[in-house]
Structure formats: structure tokens, C-alpha cells
Amino acid sequence: MSNRVTVTLTVNGSEHEIEVEPRRLLVHALRDDLGLTGTHVGCDTSSCGACTVHLDGLAVKSCTILAAQAEGAQITTIEGLGGEHSLHPLQEAFWNEHGLQCGYCTPGMIMAAAALLEENPHPSEAEVRRALDGNLCRCTGYHNIVRAVQSAAQAQAPVAS
């Protein structure tokens, strides 16, 4: 596999041109080529969701898409969602509600939750649980993750009372 393709990606607002093997997974392009290691890999089968990023506004599992398929796309990773001094409401909520333990699933979980709240700003508990069923967590039992998503929803766009 010596042939390479040139791929142009806009990641967290910055444009990058990378030369990769056609088979290179987007997640490896993000992690190993661009140094954005906040996106994780937890399985080989698109089951765990640790690699979830936003691609043109949709939550996708970056282990299930080739870097080449993302040509021209706008990608947001956990690093682009919010930083140390500019936490996204979901990051803040995961912190406040103890929505993480080992933290490995957390970036993917937060990215999936962010996509949910874009689509449905005030999800019920059942809607949160259904929306996150493609993201596995082994530590929290999901209890505080669900709390965090609902609390972020409240913080982001309070329901008019």
C-alpha cells in the first residue's frame, strides 16, 4: 500500500492537507497525523463510540470512515468543542455531575450528546438513553452521564416556564 492520496480536512476550524494511504481511518488521521489524541479507539467494530466526532455537523464514528471520505469536510473533535478556559456546557456538566470516571469513553460520549442536543434541545431521560446507545461506558453505569446531558440541556437552553 504505497500509493497515497491527498486529503484536505478542516478540523476545529483549521484547514489541514495530509497525505495518507487510501485505507487510513479518519480516527488515525486525526490522532496520529494531526495530533488530536482526544478522540479514542475502543473497539474494531463501530460498537463503542469512543471515536465519535462531528463531520459536517453529524456525529460519526471516526473509526468507520476513511480519511479520504472526509475530503473537504468540516470536522469537530472534543478539542474543538471547548478547551480548559472555554468549556462547552456539556463538558462542564459532565464535570459537575461526575459523568465520567476513567474518561476514555468521555470525549465520544460528549460529542454524541452534543449532536443529540443540537437535534433535540430538551430530551427526556429515555430519549437521552436511546440516543447514547451507540456509546459504551464501562465505569459509570450511565446514570450520571444521563444526568449530565439533561443538566447541560437545561443550561444551554432553559425551558420557558
Partner: protein, 783 residues
């Protein structure tokens, strides 16, 4: 030095760990890059049992970018096989060699045969495909009971598949059964599960000029250092092991793995860093698994409900090899086999068996979930047999709180407990009469709802060395824990712990403990862990030991710092050291709160000013804490399920847990551990099952067919607690990492039986998958 006023301990502080984790700035093993790193990929056996006829690595070596292909024969210079460190005491254990790369034969699917090392993470996987291994398949055994009966043998040279036999007995068993008016027997199967942390394992070995630095996703960096040194024939101080951010372990990273040894060995051989990151498929095949016990359980009782004798005979499927603790794991359950009940005679007989499957070892709870499942299921079975309410039967047999510390038949002493209180509290949340009415009403509508209970205790806080070391039950694991507390020039504090947390939040809990005692804010207390190159020798994180041992070590080291600081303050303020108290962020003189010094001012004296005559400068202290006993958390859980009798599908409707882990340090962290623990138990009870077919092929080799529970399957959990401090440590704490898992499986199982009782299903074994539940209903209806 008087007691300090507590301010942070007991508070639900949000975690110090989280800012790096929620922003994607944490560094797990695969996030670490060193210059010149080579990648490793393993060639693994597709056969469950075979002789290796030949290995042809020519094509792989010829690929561009491949630096080396090594086999077991190339590693002939290592100091020995992978270790079995803690064996059950006083018995012979068959322990055939287990090499980092197989020599001559393979014993289970995934056994590593060769390693390919090259420039690129994708290219080494291609090259591994090019290594041609010729296997001569040998007969396979996967059923532990068949394996005990005779050939085929996993290790033919032994002439048996039996690993060992071990018994723990106390009280007069025969007399107990003779006294019994009712004796019941059940076959209790506790099936095999995977640890399945979401971060798989990984290693990065960096040999340079005589020293090795190994980054490994491990729970036990100090043990890994010891065995890397021994197996590589180097000296311990030449090896530094760093556990970076670790993405969960659940016991599966309490191990010395062959990949750790291979990476270090190859890095030394090639003079380049070598990195390997496990795929999930590898994780499911070769990272040690848990449980897998078949038990014949006999319980005897008088008609009045008094349990008189309890006998458990376990066949433990240990898989193909002994790993670090493999044959010891079932023994850990034996110490609490009688649960929270006063049973005069308890005996556990364990037979370990080799099969052509992945080895088993510690997985969350390690022996205690199995023991708790048995006793709690048996209590329900006995209650039905006796016609006594199942909670009433429990109450009649609870060890009363007046009896603590309570010596039990198995020979251990439970530190503290109040089992009636936790059950009482549980019933404040669960209105049983209302539930029975609702249940009856739902049954008329065709909905089969059931409730199950589990009143549990467990043994954890692994230490003390007097019992775990050679002089006690002699498992050869002298367990204690260390701490170094260092106050810097400015009054900021760094704490080094020998524990190795990987998600538990101990950086926060430990900082809370230190902050209160030193009168500083937790934000200026940094906790360093998981690095053998800093801080004292340590023992790692597992067995719910880190707070009770590691936290207590920090208490002791901090108190030594406080004592020294008090002497400095006393000298500066011309007071007596015993009159110095820590209050409102100051070390002040009792009775004159305006006279005092902050920790920063004291540190200034200790490092820059003049310490009192005869005192060494500096302000740091080290402790090795060796407690007098284990700790025994306990509680009462209730689970309510709906069973769809047409499909056999079980849904958890409600889960209520009352737990007692002693004094709370951080309620947020405790709740998180219990939530996760319960989910782990529900996962085992309803969904998870590692399955091998008769040929030893792994059927559940990925997350596609190994069913971890998702958010959609689980309910929110309702938690409450009682507080019964442990007398064995100054904090009064008990472990909480495993309690939820230990309690949950029998609560779920008993609930399913309760739901199906009208259909004639009185007993069922896990996993309670739709097919198994449906079959149980069909069989009961056909009777």
C-alpha cells in the same frame, strides 16, 4: 497536636482529574509518542490447541519497513515464564510454563506465536498476516467438568487437567447437616465474563543505554517493574514503569502480560522504542477473563429458619494457564462464603481446572461476586423450601450488630456491620406491600413483574501483610500501601501514592484528606501515582484497597508532616507543640486563634529559615501502612424486573441500593462507584457471556457479540446509605469499588425467579438472556 476540623472530607467535590479528561488532553498509552518508535503486531493462534510445526517469517521479514519478526525461540534468553505470584496456600498447584511467546505449542485461541516489529502501525498488521505458521491441531477441551474427567489434556505432560484443590472449612459441617431439618442442594453456575475496559491494553517500551522505561496500561506498575526486571535479567532500579492515564481496568489490568515483556525485550534488542496497542478483538481473546465457576451448593437449616451448615464445592475453570493470581481468585470468595449470616459450619472446596480457553483471573469482585451470588440465591431457595419470608429468613440469620468485630466460621473477623439497619433502610424506599399489590394487578394484565433482594457483605481493602503474606494464609502477597507527602517551599503539596488509580477519582479523594489535615485547599494538593520512578514502592489499585490502605497511608504520612510542622510553629510562637491546632487554614495556638502560621509560612521556615535545634530541614514524610485487618463493606439491594414471557426478555424497571462503606470521603465518587458496580453486575446477570464453542473457538470475539449493557438497557439507580465506620483505619472507611458488582447479580436473579414463580420457574442460572429465560419458562410449563 489536636484533631483538625474537617472541611473537605465528606464533601461531594467535583474531581480534580476531570479538566484534562473532558477536554481531550489526557494522555492514555496510545497518545504517547516517542521519537523513533516502532510498532508491534502479534501473530496469534487461530487454533485452541495445537503443536507448532513450523513458523515461516520470510515473507514478513521481506516487507518494506519490517525490522524484525521474533518467535518464542528467539526469546530463549529470558529469565523464565510469566509469573504465578499468589497461589492458594499450602497446596500443590500444577503450573506449566506460560511463555510471552508460545514455545512448541499453543493452548488457546489468541495465544501469541510471533511478533512483527516495523515502522508503521498498519504495515506491521499486514506483515503479521504474512507469517506462515503450520499447526498440528490437538484435541480440545472446553468444558471444565469434562476436563476433570480425563483426556484430552491441555498440558499432556501433566496427565491431568486439575490445577489444584484447596479447602477452607470452619465449624462442624457434618454436625450442622445432622442438625438440619431441611437440606437443599443447587447447581450454581457463574459464567465467564470479560473485564472489557473501554480502553484496551497497550505498552510502549523504551530501552536506552541500560535502562528500560515501560509505559503500560496497568493497575500494578510496581509489580510489572519487578517482573520485567526478573524476566529480562536486569536489575529493578534499571526499570521504570509508568501507568499513564488508564482507561479502566476492572481487574483485567492487574496482571503481568506477555506483551509487556516482549515489548521491553524487543526494545532492548532493537535499541528503539516499541509500541503495541491491543485491538478489541485481541482484548476479548487474550486479556484475562473472570468468574467461570460451577458450584454444587448445599445448605442445611432448621424449620425455624436457623441455617446450620453450608457446603460449597466449586469447579473453577481457570483456562489454559495460571497467570498472576489465577488459582487464588476463587479462594477470595471462600473467606466470605457465609455472607452476612451467622452460620456455624461453612466449608468451601475448590478444584481448579485447565481448559483450552483464555486464562481467568481477577475481574471486579474476584471470587466474592460468585460467593455472594451463591449465598443470596440459596437464601431465597431455602426461604421457599421452609415457607418463611425471604427477608425474614435473612433477618433471623444476620450476624447482629452487637457481635462486631465478628469472628465467622471461615476464620476471618468481620470488622463492623449493621445488616438489619441497611435492610430497614432499603425497605423505607421499597414498599413491599404496595409492590405485592401492584405485582398481582400486573399479573392479571399479563405483565410478569418480580422483585429480588441481596443482602451482602464482602472482604476487601486487600492487605494486611500479616494475613496476605507468607505467615498468614500465605498467598505470598505482602500487601500494605505507601505514601509520601511533600510540602513544597510555598506550602503547596505533592502526594505520592503507591496505589495506581484508573478512574476511581483518588486524586480528588486523597487531596481532600490531605487538605483538611494541613489546613490548605485541595486545589494545592497534587496526587502523583502510577510511576515507579517517583515516590515509594507501592502495590497498586485493585480489591477495593486504595482508600482503606492508600488513603490511610496518606493520613499517617500527613500526620507526621503535621507533627513536624507543629514543632516548627511551637518554636516560632513560643508555645508547646501539643497546643498547636490546625484551624481556618492556620496552625495556631490553642486558645489564641490570632496567633498562628500558614503552611506556606511553616514551609518557609522548614526550607529557607532556621528549623529548631536538632530538627532536619525540609517538610516531607513517608509511610508504609499495614492495617490490622481487611474491611467488610455491606448493604442491601433490591431489583425489580419485568419479564416478557413470550420472548424471555428481562427489563430492569427499578434498582434500589443501600450501601455502607464506612465514613464517606467524597459522596460523589462513592455514588459513581456504586452506579458502575451495579451496571457491571446487571451486565453479567442479563447480557454478558464469554462463549467458546466445542472446538475452543471464541464466539464472542468483539463488542458485536459480547453484549455490554448500553444506556438504553439500564435504569437510573436509587441509592441510599448507612454509615458504620471501620475500626481498622483512622478514616473509618471501607472499600466501595466492587460492592455494587458483588451485590447485583443475585438481586437480579432472585427478581426474575420472583416474576416467574407463578409459571413454575423456581430456579434459574445466569446469564438470564431471552433464550435461557424463555427455555426455563417452557420447561416449567411442560412439567
Amino acid at each position: 497536636m489536636s484533631a483538625t476540623t474537617e472541611r473537605h472530607v465528606g464533601q461531594p467535590l467535583r474531581r480534580k482529574e476531570d479538566p484534562r479528561l473532558i477536554t481531550g488532553k489526557a494522555r492514555y498509552i496510545d497518545d504517547i509518542a516517542l521519537p523513533g518508535t516502532l510498532w508491534a503486531a502479534f501473530v496469534r493462534s487461530p487454533e485452541a490447541h495445537a503443536r507448532i510445526v513450523s513458523i515461516d517469517a520470510g515473507a514478513a521479514r521481506a516487507r518494506p519497513g519490517v525490522h524484525a519478526v521474533y518467535t518464542g525461540a528467539d526469546m530463549a534468553d529470558i529469565g523464565g515464564p510469566l509469573p504465578l505470584a499468589w497461589a492458594p496456600p499450602g497446596v500443590q498447584v500444577n503450573n506449566p510454563p506460560h511463555w510471552p511467546l508460545a514455545r512448541a505449542s499453543v493452548k488457546h485461541v489468541g495465544d501469541p506465536v510471533a511478533v512483527v516489529i516495523g515502522d508503521d502501525r498498519y504495515a506491521v498488521v499486514d506483515a503479521a498476516e504474512d507469517v506462515v505458521v503450520e499447526y498440528d491441531p490437538l484435541p480440545v477441551v472446553t468444558d471444565p467438568e469434562q476436563a476433570l474427567a480425563g483426556a484430552p489434556f491441555v498440558h499432556p505432560e501433566l496427565g491431568t487437567n486439575q490445577v489444584h484443590q484447596w479447602t477452607l472449612a470452619g465449624g462442624e459441617l457434618e454436625a450442622g447437616f445432622a442438625e438440619a431439618e431441611v437440606t437443599i442442594e443447587r447447581r450454581v453456575v457463574n459464567h465467564r465474563i470479560a473485564g472489557a475496559p473501554i480502553e484496551p491494553r497497550g505498552v510502549l517500551a523504551d530501552y536506552r543505554a541500560g535502562t528500560i522505561t515501560l509505559y503500560s496500561s496497568t493497575q500494578v506498575p510496581h509489580f510489572v517493574r519487578l517482573f520485567v526486571a526478573l524476566l529480562l535479567g536486569t536489575s529493578e532500579e534499571k526499570v521504570r514503569v509508568i501507568a499513564p492515564e488508564v482507561g479502566g481496568g476492572f481487574g483485567s489490568k492487574l496482571q503481568i502480560y506477555g506483551e509487556e515483556i516482549v515489548a521491553c525485550w524487543a526494545s532492548r534488542r532493537l535499541g528503539r522504542p516499541v509500541k503495541w496497542v491491543e485491538t478489541r478483538s485481541e482484548n476479548m481473546a487474550v486479556t484475562h477473563q473472570g468468574r467461570d465457576q460451577i458450584a454444587t451448593v448445599r445448605m442445611g437449616a432448621r424449620r425455624d429458619g436457623k441455617i446450620t451448615a453450608y457446603h460449597v464445592q466449586i469447579v473453577a475453570d481457570l483456562g489454559a494457564y495460571n497467570m498472576l493470581l489465577t488459582p487464588l481468585i476463587p479462594s477470595l470468595g471462600a473467606f466470605v462464603m457465609g455472607g452476612c449470616y451467622r452460620i456455624p459450619a461453612v466449608r468451601t472446596d475448590i478444584t481448579g481446572v485447565f481448559t483450552n480457553k483464555c486464562p481467568t483471573d481477577a475481574i471486579r469482585g474476584a471470587g466474592r461476586p460468585e460467593a455472594t451470588h451463591m449465598i443470596e440465591v440459596m437464601m431465597d431457595q431455602m426461604a421457599r423450601e421452609l415457607g418463611i419470608d425471604r427477608l425474614e429468613l435473612r433477618r433471623r440469620n444476620f450476624i447482629p450488630k452487637e457481635d462486631f468485630p465478628a469472628a465467622v466460621a471461615t476464620g476471618v473477623v468481620y470488622d463492623s456491620g449493621d445488616y438489619h439497619a441497611s435492610l430497614d433502610k432499603l425497605l423505607e424506599h421499597v414498599d413491599l406491600d404496595a409492590f405485592r399489590q401492584e405485582q398481582a394487578r400486573l399479573r392479571e394484565q399479563g405483565v410478569h413483574r418480580g422483585i429480588g433482594f441481596s443482602t451482602y457483605t464482602e472482604i476487601c481493602g486487600l492487605a494486611p501483610s500479616r494475613i496476605t503474606g507468607p505467615a498468614g494464609v500465605g498467598v505470598g502477597a505482602g500487601l500494605w500501601e505507601s505514601a509520601l507527602v511533600r510540602v513544597h517551599n510555598t506550602g503547596a503539596v505533592t502526594v505520592y501514592t503507591g496505589t495506581s488509580p484508573h478512574g476511581q477519582g483518588l486524586e480528588t479523594a486523597f487531596a481532600q484528606i490531605v487538605a483538611d489535615r494541613l489546613g490548605v485547599d485541595p486545589s494545592v494538593v497534587e496526587v502523583i501515582h502510577g510511576d515507579t520512578g517517583t515516590g515509594p514502592e507501592g502495590r497498586g489499585t485493585y480489591g477495593s484497597r486504595s482508600l482503606a490502605n492508600g488513603g490511610e497511608a496518606i493520613v499517617k504520612a500527613t500526620d507526621k508532616v503535621v507533627a513536624k510542622a507543629a514543632k516548627i510553629v511551637a518554636a516560632e510562637l513560643e508555645a508547646a507543640p501539643e497546643d498547636i491546632v490546625v484551624r481556618d487554614g492556620k496552625f495556631s495556638v490553642k486558645g489564641s486563634p490570632d496567633k498562628g502560621m500558614t503552611l506556606a509560612e511553616i514551609a518557609g521556615v522548614a526550607y529557607i529559615g532556621a528549623v529548631p535545634e536538632g530538627m532536619e530541614p525540609g517538610l516531607e514524610e513517608t509511610t508504609f501502612n499495614d492495617p490490622e485487618n481487611f474491611v467488610f463493606p455491606f448493604g442491601a439491594h433490591a431489583c425489580i424486573v419485568d419479564v416478557d414471557v413470550a420472548t424471555g426478555k428481562v427489563d430492569v424497571v427499578r434498582y434500589v441500593a443501600v450501601d455502607d462503606c464506612g465514613n464517606p470521603v467524597n459522596p460523589l465518587l462513592i455514588a459513581g462507584q456504586i452506579h458502575g458496580g451495579i451496571a457491571y453486575g446487571i451486565g453479567q446477570a442479563l447480557y454478558e457471556h464469554v462463549v467458546y464453542d466445542d472446538d475452543g473457538q471464541l464466539v464472542t470475539g468483539s463488542f458485536v457479540n459480547y453484549a455490554l449493557p448500553t444506556a438504553a438497557e439500564l435504569p437510573s439507580f436509587e441509592l441510599d446509605h448507612t454509615v458504620t465506620p471501620s475500626p481498622v483505619n483512622a478514616l473509618g472507611v471501607k472499600g466501595v469499588g466492587e460492592a455494587g458488582t458483588i451485590a447485583a447479580t443475585p438481586a437480579v436473579t432472585n427478581a426474575v425467579v420472583d416474576a416467574l414463580e407463578p409459571l413454575g420457574v423456581h430456579y434459574i442460572n445466569m446469564p438470564l438472556t431471552p433464550m435461557r429465560v424463555w427455555r426455563a419458562i417452557e420447561e416449567a410449563q411442560a412439567r
